[in-house]
């Protein structure tokens, strides 16, 4: 006799994840949090090691223009550390880089988005990506041996004709290794990031508005002026700020082309200047004890500075990207 098959027990329906899923989600979440941990640790450790310098120098660390550690005959060490001159130099060089680099990048992005034939566009996008992959020491080497002689000539012209503008004046016509040269090298180094951000933003321009402008009889430039710029300008500002963050933190290329002098120098053509990152490299080799701590404190300042600029930039870019959807 065959037994009647009993009805199968109803399957338990649950939304509770299985063990394997719980392990998976836990692991992945843990790794996701790790970047936050690393970022916090960077800030903590640099602040911790630089704490003594901050306490000793106080606010003067930001405004002071001297960097010296003097040992008197009786063996007493007098420290006087301040990154003021280097901070001003950092901003000065980055400004030159932005003034030269951003217009070029925006023009390039405009050309790639609205003018270039498909084939040229593909090549140029690769070229810009390649620029981002070049090592910074390569930019330094090239800047020193190829760009600097050219820029020195341009500096001579600027000095000759525009000396009446204070920025283009110089105590002596000595244009080698000036902030202007460093700014030019940095301008080329920030082009990839500013171009690719601007290009992404321009590509997000709502198509219906573009077509509306054309339908109303706008020329291509008219369309760009009335549709693309109002839509994308804040995003381009964000891209420029990402470039600014890059320019603040650049070390090796600036060190190679710049004559680092611990003085506030606002004459961009004159061969004397500095930036915080390259100053750290310059002083590192001979630094001992307190000076090492002071350099770590300078690193902390640089870290905070670039972090703030980057966060602001990313927020702006993100907001613009969203407004296109």
């Amino acid at each position: 006799m065959i037994e009647k098959p009993s009805a199968p027990a109803p399957r338990e329906i649950t939304t509770k994840p299985r063990l394997s899923d719980r392990i998976f989600r836990g692991t992945v979440t843990g790794f996701g949090m790790l970047s936050l941990v690393i970022l916090t640790l960077i800030g903590l450790f640099l602040a911790l090691r630089g704490f003594q310098t901050f306490r000793h120098e106080g606010f003067h660390f930001l405004t002071g223009v001297k960097w010296e550690s003097v040992t008197s005959e009786s063996g007493v060490i007098t420290n006087n550390f301040g990154v003021g001159a280097m901070l001003i130099g950092t901003v000065l060089i980055a400004t030159v880089a932005l003034v030269v680099g951003v217009p070029l990048s925006v023009l390039c992005a405009l050309y790639l988005t609205f003018y270039a034939p498909e084939r040229i566009k593909k090549i140029m996008v690769s070229v810009v990506d390649l620029m981002a992959a070049f090592p910074s020491i390569l930019y330094g080497l090239w800047g020193f041996f190829v760009l600097m002689p050219m820029v020195q000539y341009w500096a001579g012209l600027l000095f000759k004709y525009l000396r009446w503008i204070p920025v283009f004046n110089a105590p002596q016509p000595f244009f080698e290794r000036s902030p202007f040269v460093a700014g030019m090298v940095l301008a080329i180094m920030i082009i990839p990031i500013v171009t690719s951000v601007s290009r992404e933003i321009f590509a997000q321009t709502p198509l219906d508005r573009i077509q509306a402008a054309y339908a109303l009889g706008a020329t291509r430039w008219g369309m760009i002026k009335t549709v693309v710029f109002p839509f994308g300008s804040s995003g381009v500002v964000g891209g420029a700020m990402l470039g600014l963050g890059r320019a603040f933190g650049e070390t090796v290329a600036v060190f190679t082309v710049l004559n680092i002098v611990f003085k506030v120098n606002l004459h961009i053509l004159y061969g004397s200047g500095g930036n915080v990152a390259s100053m750290i490299i310059l002083k590192w080799g001979e630094a001992v004890g307190d000076e090492t701590k002071a350099l770590l404190a300078a690193g902390f300042i640089l870290f905070v500075l670039t972090l703030l600029v980057n966060m602001a930039a990313n927020t702006i870019v993100k907001r613009t990207m969203k407004s296109g959807k």
Binding site: I23, I38, L141
Partner: protein, 352 residues
């Protein structure tokens, strides 16, 4: 049954300019070239820069002027704008050509076989380039790349999985943190490893310390590229996996990641290209040895960027030749990685 053969219609482009329309522009450009030559000859301006500048100004002015005469003021402005946009793109293009050309033309002078079999242990940077080599630096760089990959690839890919698959409550914030991390200056990464590991733990300046510093720079690159790739995987695939009763872990491990594997490979390669030439963090963390060191956990290590750096700082003609040759080797490495990334990234994601 008969079939009528219909000749395929050749696609036409009625909007393309005809030769008759292109001719005046070419004539105007030739005119601009002649005018440039004449102006440079009769005025005190001279040099290649003057030629390029004048030719650009005159050529743009001639063509814009013609458009303006024919079609009015807005056509003139439009024509000017497109010339200027083109010039911007060309000015971005020029430095790349110049960088590649100077590196290759200066670097090849110092290439020879013993470069890859000898170290700088017995040679000085000021010796003629035929003495010594960069084997130690090459080994160091390969170690650094390998260890950084071992650290950064799992971290980067898993973070990307968190951002795309889990989409937990904190994912917006983590996204923000990853972006902030990609802006950390390389010198700060080096200082951090010095301040945390080298001062406080038994890990001293060595390849592993350098790789830790480089990982800080590599993780955000790997994360962001992987995230973009994972977002491209169609949601249908994930839903199909779930519908067949797979757990999320199974879906991700057997469907999502394999579907995105070419893109993930690109993410890894781009990450390596990002760190291969980094110099600043290594100056604090690897010690910059001139001798071969096979142990990545102990003793000073050399690296290609540091080799270039040393040659550049010394400043003698021989050492600068070494720097150029070193940077050429480094550039070739970066270019190979870049092309590989393009090849893998160019393939479409398999959806079958």
């Amino acid at each position: 049954m008969t079939t009528t053969n219909i000749a395929p219609v050749a696609p036409t482009k009625p909007w393309a300019p005809t030769p008759a329309e292109v001719l005046p522009s070419i004539l105007l450009l030739i005119g601009a070239a002649v005018a440039t030559y004449v102006i440079v000859a009769i005025t005190p301006m001279k040099g290649k820069l003057a030629y390029a500048f004048l030719f650009f100004v005159l050529g743009t002015a001639f063509i814009a002027g013609r458009n303006g005469l024919l079609r009015g003021r807005s056509a003139l402005v439009d024509s000017l704008a497109s010339s200027i946009a083109f010039t911007g793109a060309a000015l971005v293009f020029l430095p790349v050509v110049s960088i590649l050309w100077t590196t290759v033309s200066n670097g090849v002078k110092g290439l020879h076989w013993t470069l890859f079999t000898e170290t700088m242990f017995t040679a000085s940077f000021s010796d003629p380039i035929s003495k010594g080599g960069l084997l130690h630096a090459l080994v160091g760089t390969l170690y650094l790349i390998f260890i950084s990959m071992v650290i950064s690839v799992p971290m980067g890919v898993l973070t990307a999985l968190y951002l795309t698959e889990i989409k937990g409550p904190g994912s917006g914030f983590i996204q923000f943190v990853v972006q902030a991390m990609s802006g950390v200056p390389s010198v700060v990464a080096g200082l951090f490893i010095f301040a945390s590991l080298i001062i406080a733990t038994p890990i001293k300046a060595s390849a592993i310390a350098g790789a830790f510093a480089l990982s800080i720079l590599m993780i955000p690159t790997v994360t962001r590229t992987s995230q973009e790739v994972l977002l491209l995987v169609p949601n249908d695939l994930r839903e199909a996996g779930q519908a067949l009763g797979a757990t999320q872990w199974k879906t991700v491990a057997t469907i999502v990641v394999p579907a995105a594997r070419n893109g993930l490979l690109t993410a890894v390669i781009l990450g390596v290209a990002r760190i291969a030439g980094e110099t600043a963090p290594l100056l604090f963390t690897i010690g910059g040895s001139d001798n071969l060191n096979w142990n990545p956990f102990k003793n000073y290590q050399g690296a290609l960027p540091v080799y270039v750096w040393k040659g550049l700082l010394l400043g003698t003609p021989e050492s600068i030749q070494r720097a150029w040759t070193g940077i050429l080797v480094l550039l070739v490495l970066v270019l190979v990685l870049f092309v590989l990334a393009r090849v893998f990234g160019g393939r479409r994601i398999k959806t079958k």
